[in-house]
Amino acid sequence: MIANDGSYQDFATQLISAAGDSHQLGAPNYTMRGIQYSQPIQDTWDEMTNRITTNFLGVQSTCISCHNGRGHLEPINLFLSKQTRLSFWQQSAFLSRMNILFQSSDPADAVYHGYISDRTTGGYNTVLADPNNPGPRPPRTGGPYTPVYLFSGKAPATGAWRKELANSVVNDRQFARAFVNYLWAQLFRVGIVDPPDGFDLARIDAANLPTDPWPSDPSQPWPLQPSHPALLEQLTDAFIQGGYQISPMIRMMVESRAYGLSGHYPGVWTPLHALDFAKSLPRRLTAEELYDSLITATNTQVPMTVEGMDHTLYYAGELPDATEPRTDEGKGLDQYNYIRDFLTTFGRGDWWRTARDNSLNPALMLYFMNAPAVTDRTFGNKFQLGSSLVAQLAASKISNSDAIDLLCLATLGRLPTTQERSAALSYPPPDPAREQWLGDIQWAFLNEAEFFFSH
């Protein structure tokens, strides 16, 4: 849907209200990922509520799933400080008529097969199925509760509560605002509201400034939250008027002057300058981006087999799930299971219990310098019957200088600096193969810190 420039409204609606077989349809897996296995069902509703408000509205509501905002959140979020646990339960009640039938579909209980449907009766009850397993949140009281949309006070018009929830979410202006801000943060590293999942809805509207005292300086009211409120609202308008299509928004942002700035800043840089989008801020590539960059730079794409797919994939960005590619250890096309190993090592996470980790550390550098999963790709004679970039250059008559240019362009997306060219040209070619010299040059380009970052 997204690839075809469909409406993000439709996409979100499908995820929030998805029903059916998780092994036949994609959308139910949004809920399958949110199931709190071995916890009370209320925790699944609450977790999914937080995911929906976070993913689609930019508001982490999990705080008030345990306690009222008052007395806790005043220094953090003015809007949430005025919400209650009861209001969270009422929001969570939108999900309380959901039936989830599931069973493990692998011996390690890592993959669940589920079927999701909706009842027409029931509500958010607070009774535990197993009193000995109260779950992670403090005891719930009262109920059963019926739905009230936390952000407007609106109750559902029909008994199809999840569809009603989806309708409220996608028609909320905050839905569009949160999306363009997420997109901006992805492209510029810093959101206009940052972090992008930390919206304070009481401090968004420039025409309706908050009057509550600011905890950091009680003589002043709370400031507006967006760094560029007018820009945020114009982007929101553009997204709505464009039918919630994503690609025009991407195009608008990447064609901006701010996006075109380099990572170098001629003046004295302070972290506050990040809010002015005065230079490009580096972002470490995700595991999938890093792998795809590596195989593209070295021209060492490997076919990947994926469960349930009848065609071959080559790029990690295409993988449908963190359990893929699912190939036999050392027997499949994915030689020695390099790909999953690589993606795990660089922090893909499991999209479930283990969060994505885009940090760097010395162990990752050891891996990148020394693991065959990386280094073999710079050996023309070791990989893919001589089709790697190094092998192709070695077989050509191209000059050393031109070869350095091509290796740098392929690896770092730019021509070499004078320093790089000079160092590479004076690098002693190992005896006897020029191929090894080329491989060493590309290994060095790959291991420049720059390779790990979008900047």
């Binding site: 999990t62 000995n132 550390n361 990752l364 790089e420 160092a423 060493d440 291991n447 420049e448």
Partner: protein
């Protein structure tokens, strides 16, 4: 194989003193390192380290140990011979009865809380950040993930994770005997080429350069790489199992004495709801009976204790063995297993100043609840108390609070115990000699 992190991080933010509050206790400082063996799934206390002689066990099983420290010698033949070196804590309770929440407490000394789980570091990361980073990775996770990383403490304090023997990335081993020289040549090329080294456009790039330099320093250093090289004889002595292999590497890491501080050794599948005494019984492709699991653990742990004692390293190395809760006492359930039970559990401690031959506390005759705490606080012992004991042994102030967290909420090394009384954790000093 997954990787965590290790090494010196010059740019790593350390909690500033102004953001750290300590209550000024006097840690014991009797240990340099801790080997923490996490028996995930929760072993039955009444069949392991709080053995009830009246409880069911196969008729062929032999009771060993001493009269004060009875041990099922069929399950734990080596430990039954090592009672002079181990201390058993039998007055423990858990506040949890579900695995994930119980495991979170074992890994972090904190109750699972959706708002803070992401920023709560593993106890091994706390140890690493307190003791500092040296030549060797300070926090190893062997035979499975530690389950939690360094969180806000910073990636450099997180675990390096490997199955055990055979961590291959300390060498650039592609050119035979010329490998080291060739690698040096290539690395010199890299340092000469990379403009980020001389003019980084952002701190994240200069951090990456620092990580490269640290990684480089660990290469071709046999005192590091040899830790992960294991011989066939070693395998046999430690049992030729995954946990045995992990315990062997743990021993070698400790004996190397070059910076390792906390080693998490995973040993899973102790969730024996059924056929717990059916030797060979597996569930989901993995052994899931106490007989085989205990034998695996005993084989490796017995060798570990003996080897560390022989080399003189046991006195400076604390070993902690525990799961997340106990199991239902009395007769086996209808499926010949035991279910989850939180009002009684147990732990085994050894080394690092721990007095061998000692038993702390007692449960009732069947092992249902604690009747004698056996320590100065005169209440049941919780995982937070065990962690405080470990921190004390390692010379760490267990009362430390760091306020500079991402959420702004204070992170307490050992927070009040969520048992209804909010008891303040304390070291169980009675375990020490």
């Amino acid at each position: 194989m997954g990787l965590g992190s290790f090494g010196v991080m010059a740019a790593l933010p350390r909690p500033g003193e102004a953001q750290v509050l300590r209550h000024g206790v006097s840690p014991r400082g009797s240990a340099d390192a801790c080997i923490f063996i996490n028996l995930a799934g929760a072993p039955s206390h009444v069949d392991t380290f709080d053995l009830k002689l009246d409880a069911y066990r196969p008729p062929s099983h032999v009771i060993g140990g001493t009269s004060a420290m009875a041990i099922n010698a069929t399950l734990f033949p080596k430990l039954a011979q090592a009672t002079n070196d181990i201390c058993l804590i039998r007055s423990m309770e858990s506040i949890e009865e579900a695995h994930e929440r119980g495991q979170f407490a074992v890994r972090t000394a904190h109750s699972s809380n959706p708002a803070f789980n992401g920023e709560t570091p593993h106890i091994g990361a706390v140890v690493a950040s307190e003791k500092g980073l040296g030549k060797f990775p300070p926090f190893l996770a062997l035979n499975g993930s530690a389950g939690q990383g360094a969180a806000f403490l910073g990636g450099g304090y997180g675990p390096i994770t490997t199955s055990g023997c055979g961590f291959p990335y300390f060498a650039h081993d592609f050119y035979g005997p010329a490998s080291q020289a060739r690698f040096t040549q290539k690395f010199n090329l890299l340092t000469a080429m990379d403009p980020s080294r001389t003019a980084p456009s952002d701190p994240s790039l200069s951090d990456a350069e620092a990580f490269y330099d640290t990684a480089r320093q660990t290469m071709y250093d046999s005192t590091i790489s040899d830790v992960f090289v294991c011989s066939g004889d070693d395998f046999a002595r430690y049992g030729n199992t995954a946990v045995g292999q992990a315990l062997l590497v743990a021993r070698k890491a400790v004996q190397a004495r070059n910076g390792v501080r906390f080693i998490n050794v995973g040993h899973g599948n102790w969730d024996t709801h059924q056929q717990m005494y059916s030797r060979g019984y597996s569930f989901a492709g993995a052994l899931n009976n106490i007989w085989d699991l205990a034998n695996e653990l005993d084989h490796g742990l017995g060798a570990l204790i003996a080897d560390l004692k022989s080399s003189g390293d046991l006195s400076r190395t604390m070993i902690v063995v525990m799961g997340e809760f106990g199991r239902t006492p009395g007769p086996l359930n209808g499926q010949q297993g035991r279910d989850h039970h939180k009002t009684a559990m147990c732990a085994l401690l050894a080394g690092g100043g721990v007095a061998g031959g000692r038993v702390i506390g007692a449960t009732d005759s069947v092992g249902r609840k604690v009747i004698n705490p056996g320590w100065s606080a005169n209440r049941s012992i919780y995982v937070q108390d065990i962690v405080a004991t470990m921190y004390s042994a390692l010379g760490i102030d267990w009362t430390t609070t760091i306020s500079s967290t991402p959420s702004g909420r204070a992170f307490q090394y050992t927070p009040p115990i969520n048992n209804g009384n909010y008891d303040i954790p304390a070291p169980v000093n009675e375990v020490f000699g």
